[in-house]
């Protein structure tokens, strides 16, 4: 076991864990936001750069600070490492810059986006975004492509986290979609507009942090915060059958996988459970699902709020806040 200090809180962790995982052990606001990292998907992370932190001491052996900000999701911890996340003004500034970069070409169509209310980018821009925009250019637009009957790809909203590509690589055997082109015209697409058809493709929707991949069977049906999430399960020959049914009265509006408190799927579910079983008789209803989130989705769910962790600023590094 080795010791890491993140924002003046020391935690013991195993060797080989990343800074982000160590921060998750501490919990609360210390956890850097992650838009592309997904602990269940191998190789993910390092791309969105929102989880950048400052390492003010590399280890006990080598007390030098790291020269640049590092991505906490892909940097392994060392014994005696001292990390600054919210206590470093430099990190806050950099993160603001990254959020601005993510938003300059985002359509900001939250009022008509199905992801609104459970969108990581919304939470992130609420936390670190700026009130006004500095761009006057037209936002980037992509030609619309149809990727099948169940999933709607809205490329304009995509932030290129690559999570859906890893899902297709690691969960299903024949990957049909991937990343095409490069630079700011990079897009997620299938080869010559093929449809994505396999039993687990629906998990792309769950891992997508924004509204780029949404459920066609649920499009424009309801706002997520009007629905009641219920833990349900069924005997499924393909997957664990454990899911969340989003209900309004006795109707099931949509089925998603169960997500933990970091917004990550606990068990990936199959397309049959997700898209075809919309009858409450198909499912055994266990009870209400506890959704722990800061955003609007939990507004009607009367969760007791977690006690916010106190961030102690290091003397001289941050001006006293009112």
């Amino acid at each position: 076991m080795i010791k890491v200090t993140i924002d003046n809180v020391t935690v013991e962790t195993e060797e080989g864990t990343t800074i982000l995982q160590a921060a998750r052990k501490i919990g609360g606001k210390i956890i850097p936001p992650a838009m592309c990292y997904y602990s269940k998907l191998k190789g993910s992370g390092g791309k969105c750069r929102t989880c950048l932190v400052k390492v003010s001491q590399s280890s006990t052996k080598d007390p030098r600070p790291m020269p640049k900000l590092v991505a906490s999701c892909s940097t392994p911890v060392q014994d005696g490492m001292v990390v600054q996340n919210l206590t470093s003004p430099e990190v806050i500034e950099a993160r603001k810059g990254i959020v601005e970069f993510l938003l300059i070409n985002h359509p900001l169509d939250c009022p008509v986006c199905d992801q609104a209310g459970e969108c990581d980018l919304q939470d992130l821009s609420f936390g670190f975004g700026m009130a006004e925009t500095a761009t006057e250019e037209e936002r980037r637009e992509f030609p619309v492509i149809d990727i099948g009957d169940y999933i709607k790809l809205h490329m304009n909203r995509c932030i290129l986290c690559y999570r859906c590509v890893y899902v297709a690589d690691q969960l299903t055997d024949k990957r049909l979609h991937g990343v095409l082109y490069r630079g700011d015209v990079t897009e997620i697409s299938t080869f010559i507009s093929k449809g994505i058809e396999n039993d687990f493709s629906g998990n792309m929707i769950d891992v997508c942090p924004v509204g780029a991949l949404t459920d066609k069977t649920f499009r424009f049906k309801s706002r997520v915060w009007f629905l009641k999430p219920m833990n349900v399960h069924r005997d499924c020959p393909k997957c664990s059958g454990k899911a969340v049914a989003w209900m309004f009265g006795n109707e099931i509006y949509r089925i998603t996988a169960r997500k933990d408190k970091y917004g990550e799927v606990e068990d990936f579910i199959c397309n049959e459970c997700r898209f075809d079983k919309k009858n409450p008789a198909d499912w055994v209803i266990e009870g209400p699902r506890h959704i722990i989130r800061q955003s609007v989705i939990s507004a009607n769910h009367y969760e007791k709020e977690e006690k916010p962790s106190v961030i102690k600023p290091i003397e001289g590094t941050m001006e006293k806040q009112k």
């Binding site: 992370g45 390092g46 750069r49 892909s74 993510l102 490069r182 630079g183 700011d184 990079t186």
Partner: protein, 443 residues
């Protein structure tokens, strides 16, 4: 000036052929290293020479080699980075085109020092005509027993493969190069792990520039101690500089480190002064990614000392009044050159070449290009200049690979040193347009 090391036999007719190259003293270092020295001795000799990587970063080669994971359970690889795509840099192309055997010789000695059995030359897609030259050289070396299973009967075996890329600038970044070599999309990898531990196919790998590897042979021939005496301070040896722009004699020159920049620009043996008797305005001394410097700062440093062609002297004054030696792509601008237009042109390049993996580079390079396009074409606002500084600052240091920094530095330095030109573009767009391109304003 004599003392040429890499280009010493440049003028020998037919030096591209094995026989001529061998007759003029080629492949001596292979015989010396393989017959008389242990791999550790060869590596020590390179460390002693103080050779620094010629690809741009100037990292000591001996130190880089010492990081290589020497566990015996996995094969090790040596990759030669011949993906020279930096605008303004063309020294590796020149070297491979005229002295392919010098590179092969360096590869054999380096592979011996590192215990490598297969070695790859990743060559830029646009250099397709060099593939034939290199493959012919490799074939000749095979025929004469310098490559293959049992080189010179010493039991050491090596194969060299040439792999042409598809012409992406990002594949010059070492981890993107390895991805591309493995047949994947050329996206830079997230570091750590570094290639010295997990490189090509998950095995320990060393990636070196063409010029670095070509220097290994001469170092072994003359000895590391002798090589370290050439040059100045920690910048040892000679360096190829590819000079271009508004100068009388553009081309590739081999200089001894420590040559004053003024002598390089105005000396008859080198650039021969500014073309058409114009005045010097600015220089980008190390390929398009490094900060641009105005005439007074490139000739002398901010403290008034003469600036020299060394890694240290170029970096004197950090980024406030200094720059980097980089890969040696020396671009000279005369008094007529428009810095705004040039900066816009460079940003356009970086926008096109960004891999699109991480958000600051993907979005930031495009945004900078849009703003600079606006300023250059007379639609700019005063606030745009500060906006550019802010975007450049947000990209710098937050990206996965150095391409973000490379895109941000030229913009930040151009505004730092030539802010008045940007302001003039904003305030008097019609006059600027007419002066620069002889066009009448149309708006």
């Amino acid at each position: 000036m004599g003392g040429k090391i890499l280009l010493a036999n440049m003028d020998v007719p037919g030096i591209r052929d094995f026989d001529v190259y061998h007759a003029s003293g080629g492949y001596k270092s292979v015989e010396k290293a393989l017959r008389d020295m242990t791999p550790a001795q060869v590596a020590a000799e390179v460390t002693r020479s103080g050779l620094r990587g010629r690809g741009g970063a100037g990292f000591p080669t001996g130190l880089k080699w010492s990081f290589l994971d020497k566990k015996p359970d996995k094969p090790r690889f040596l990759v030669c980075n011949a993906d020279e795509s930096e605008p303004g840099t063309f020294k590796d192309r020149y070297l491979m085109q005229h002295l392919p055997h010098l590179l092969i010789e360096g590869l054999i000695v380096s592979s011996y020092a590192l215990g490598v059995k297969s070695c790859y030359i990743y060559i830029r897609g646009e250099f397709k005509y060099l593939v034939g030259i290199l493959e012919k050289a490799i074939r000749e070396a095979h025929l004469h027993g310098f490559l293959g299973e049992n080189i010179l009967g010493t039991g050491f075996g090596l194969q060299i493969y040439v792999h042409p890329g598809a012409g992406a600038y990002i594949c010059g970044e070492e981890t993107a190069l390895l991805e591309s070599l493995e047949g994947k999309r050329g996206n830079p990898r997230i570091k750590p792990p570094f290639p010295a531990f997990k490189g090509l196919y998950g095995c320990p790998t060393v990636v070196n520039n063409v010029e670095t590897l070509a220097t290994i042979g001469p170092i072994i021939n003359m000895g590391g101690e002798a090589y370290s005496k050439i040059g100045k301070g920690k910048s040892t040896g000679t360096k190829l500089i590819s000079a271009c722009g508004n100068i009388n004699k553009p081309g590739v020159y081999e200089i001894e480190m420590g040559l004053p920049v003024k002598d390089f620009i105005y000396g008859d043996a080198y650039c021969g002064g500014i073309a058409n008797d114009k005045k010097l305005k600015a220089v980008i001394p190390g390929g398009s990614s490094v900060p641009i410097l105005p005439a007074d700062l490139i000739v002398n440093t901010a403290s008034g000392v003469q600036r020299l062609m060394t890694f240290e002297s170029m970096a004197d004054g950090d980024f406030i009044s200094g720059t980097m030696l980089g890969s040696g792509g020396f671009i000279v601008f005369d008094e007529d050159a428009c810095i705004v237009r040039n900066t816009w042109n460079l940003t356009r390049f970086y926008r096109h070449e960004s891999c699109g993996q991480c958000s600051p580079c993907r979005e930031g390079t495009g945004w900078m290009e849009n703003v600079l396009h606006r300023i250059e074409h007379g639609q700019g606002k005063m606030s745009d200049i500060d906006l550019l500084v802010r975007i450049a600052k947000n990209i710098e240091g937050t990206t996965i690979c150095p391409l973000g920094d490379a895109a941000a530095w030229p913009v930040a330095s151009a505004i730092r040193h030539f802010r008045h030109e940007f302001e003039e573009h904003v305030l008097h767009p019609a006059e600027v347009l007419e002066k620069e391109r002889g066009l009448q304003a149309v708006y």
